[in-house]
């Protein structure tokens, strides 16, 4: 057995967009910080370039997790230092102002998402993570053709802003950036926090939060080996607070396993999406250019269209059929383009710990509404039209029951001719939210305006689960910005409390009993 014991002012569970940002801010303020991460710390040079190896190393459960029910929706997540930022495309969007205002007015988060304060946080993050618009020289054929298609249909698109100013356009973000150009958390805020004195324990899975007299005092869980077998017990004491930042799926599971109930896990939201593939006579060269470089935001229609260059394994599987026709298309992967639609769905789901399975496994219920599915159809049809407008010879809409190969723009009507159930699309979701939503009202929110769990002292949630709703834009920047604000305010509060007790007892909050709706003991 190799047990692990440690102690710090702040114990942070998870090193993704939320956890790493919290560690960066709190360690900069001079607090001792321990980061606990279930996945491994990856060495860039050792990250496999083939998708099978990359998935085995960095994806949570090989990307096979999905929602429950008759039409499972795959949920793509990472399990490694850096969380999903270690495999994402680096797209950066500030929190849209109408969403900010809604959170402020309806959720009582005015101070947390105060316009000026949040804007300063975004400015700081954008400077540190080298945010720039993707230069035209890095668009590659995939994004260039998408721009051509959008323009032909009169849609307004733009270069995607990313945290990768030194991007070389290798289209390998999913396997990890080979030159560390993309400023994912594993190469930015996690090492920065370590330089500022934080400690990182990777392969350290937290199973529950420990309480003493209504106050979170630490966490316990398991130390894992490379095969994720348990090789020891984990016990880390938090002198000031535990910050759960394990993602919109895992954070509510940890809180549930810790005895917390109420709205925890009750309001899971997402931006599910699907892709359309097209074949062009001219070469496209999807493997050349930034993974994602061009986007058409359609916020009023609750959707966003993006170019997305994926590894050949995924594109090959997405081409229709089997046998000679498939092989003919497979032999011309350099002529294939792929664009996706992500929908800001109105559906609200639920997350719980799974009944059986290893620690931390979740059961997610989520069913898109009819209106959501109409938007998916509208997005797919728009992408098909854009493909033809850009010059595609064949378009593969990827909807069961619809002709798998469209050869003429008039055939897009087949997509629109009727409604298609979710199970007819190849959808997936990687933008997940709101399972421990923030808000002033404990009846409808799991955490308060400072992201502290209602009714518990010394326990915070700072990740995608704490955002009160989905956004309609790519989420990592909003997660980092909101976390930055909350962590900064926590650091200030802790500092002022600490100076009041001049070097004596390090407790900041008086112990109060847990509220009756928390079963924690």
């Amino acid at each position: 057995m190799s047990d692990l014991e440690d102690e710090a002012d702040f114990v942070i569970v998870g090193t993704g967009a939320g956890g790493a940002t919290a560690a960066r801010v709190l360690s900069a303020a001079g607090h001792s910080v321990v980061m606990l991460e279930e996945g491994a710390r990856l060495v860039t040079a050792d990250r496999p370039r083939d998708l099978l190896g990359a998935m085995a190393q960095a994806f949570r459960d090989m990307g096979t997790n999905a929602t429950e029910g008759a039409s499972p929706l795959p949920l793509l997540q990472a399990r490694c230092v850096g969380g999903a930022t270690a495999i994402n495309s680096g797209i950066i969007w500030r929190l849209p102002d109408e969403v900010r205002r809604e959170w402020s007015e309806r959720r009582g988060l005015g101070e947390l998402v105060d316009e000026r304060g949040l804007s300063e946080a975004f400015d700081a993050i954008e400077g540190e993570l080298e945010i720039t618009d993707t230069a035209p020289s890095l668009w590659g054929g995939n994004a260039t053709l998408m721009a051509r298609g959008a323009e032909a249909l009169g849609l307004v698109g733009k270069a995607i802003a990313r945290n990768a100013s030194r991007c070389k356009g290798s289209a390998q973000c999913l396997q990890g950036c080979p030159g560390e150009a993309r400023q994912s958390m594993d190469v930015s805020y996690v090492p920065r926090a370590i330089r500022q004195g934080a400690r990182l324990h990777a392969r350290a899975r937290v199973d529950r939060v420990r309480f003493d007299g209504g106050r979170a005092t630490g966490v316990e869980g398991a130390v894992l080996d490379a095969e994720r077998r348990v090789v020891g017990a984990l016990r880390v004491r938090a002198r000031r607070a535990v910050i759960v930042a394990a993602s919109a799926v895992q954070s509510p599971v940890i809180l549930w396993r810790s005895g917390l109930r109420g709205p925890v896990g009750e309001t899971f939201m997402a931006h599910p999406g699907c892709a359309v593939v097209g074949r062009f006579d001219e070469p496209v060269g999807m493997g050349f250019g930034a993974t994602q470089a061009y986007e058409v935001p359609l916020r009023e229609r609750r959707m966003k269209l993006e170019s997305i260059s994926l590894p050949p394994e995924m594109i090959a599987a997405r081409l229709p059929g089997a046998g000679p026709a498939w092989q003919e298309r497979l032999a011309h992967l350099d002529h294939v383009a792929q664009w996706a639609v992500q929908v800001r769905m109105e559906a609200v789901g639920r997350v719980r710990p799974a009944w059986f399975g290893r620690g931390g496994e979740a059961s997610v219920r989520y069913a898109p509404t009819r209106a959501d599915m109409m938007r998916v159809r509208e997005g797919v049809a728009t992408l098909c039209r854009m493909m033809f407008a850009a010059g595609a010879r064949e378009v593969y809409p990827g909807i069961a029951g619809v002709r798998s190969v469209l050869r003429d723009p008039s055939e897009v009507a087949l997509v629109e001719a009727r409604e298609h159930p979710q199970s007819h699309y190849s959808m997936m979701a990687s933008h997940l939210f709101a399972s421990c939503p923030a808000g002033a009202d404990p009846a409808t929110s799991a955490v308060g305006p400072d992201l502290a769990v209602h009714g518990v002292n010394g326990l915070y949630v700072m990740d995608s689960s704490a955002l009160p709703t989905n956004l309609g834009v790519n989420p990592q920047h909003s997660i980092m910005g909101v976390t930055w604000r909350a962590a900064e305010r926590l650091a200030q509060r802790t500092e002022s409390a600490a100076t009041r007790c001049v070097g004596a007892v390090r407790e900041t909050a008086a112990s109060v009993p847990l509220s009756s709706r928390t079963g924690a003991a």
Binding site: D50, L51, L52, M55, A56, F59, D61, M62, T64, N65, A70, D133, P136, W139, G140, G141, T144, L145, A147, R148, E151, V156, G157, K158, A159, A161, E282, P283, G285, G287, F288, P311, P312, E313, M314, I315, A316, A317, P320, G321, A322, G323, P324, W326, Q327, E328, L330, A331, H332, L333, D334, H335, G357, R358, E361, A400, S404, S423, H424, S426
Partner: protein, 149 residues
């Protein structure tokens, strides 16, 4: 969850049947390690997905019986018959069948593209040689700084 010997045989029979020797992009015997890909998928997945992968292998391997009414397993069909049947399963009206066949197709492509030779034949990495420069030059580019031409 190790696959049994006959399951391994089925995996090879199923996954090699996505391609035929007559097709444009061929995969020679031994060029793609399908069993390895299936084992890596299973080892890294949750119990539910591991069971799903095994169910997929069984459902497709036994498809000649339930889909064609023949007392055979897929590996006992002639090569062309295997490919034809798999293509039908990929388009099956039952979501479960379609989904399981697609899972095996993805596993097959994960194995195929691990082979540098197969990947090279796909053209994915074919040099970009300043692709479609005319297209690129003709486009006004809208960025957050404004329109660039």
């Amino acid at each position: 969850m190790a696959f049994t010997d006959f399951e391994r045989r089925w995996i090879v029979a199923i996954m090699s049947a996505f391609t035929t020797p007559e097709g444009e992009l061929t995969v020679a015997d031994g060029e793609a390690d399908y069993v390895y890909a299936a084992e890596v998928m299973a080892a890294g997945s949750r119990l539910k997905a591991r069971v799903g992968l095994r169910v997929a292998v069984w459902v497709v391997a036994l498809a000649p019986a339930w889909a064609l009414g023949r007392a055979q397993t897929l590996d006992e069909l002639p090569a062309a018959g295997r490919t034809e049947l798999i293509a039908r399963l990929l388009d099956h009206r039952a979501y479960l069948v379609r989904g399981l066949a697609t899972l095996l197709k993805l596993t097959a492509t994960l194995a195929m593209m691990r082979s540098p030779a197969v990947r090279a034949r796909s053209g994915y990495d074919r040099a970009a040689d300043a692709r479609s420069p005319s297209t690129r030059r003709a486009l006004p580019l809208v960025t957050s700084q404004g329109v660039m031409t």
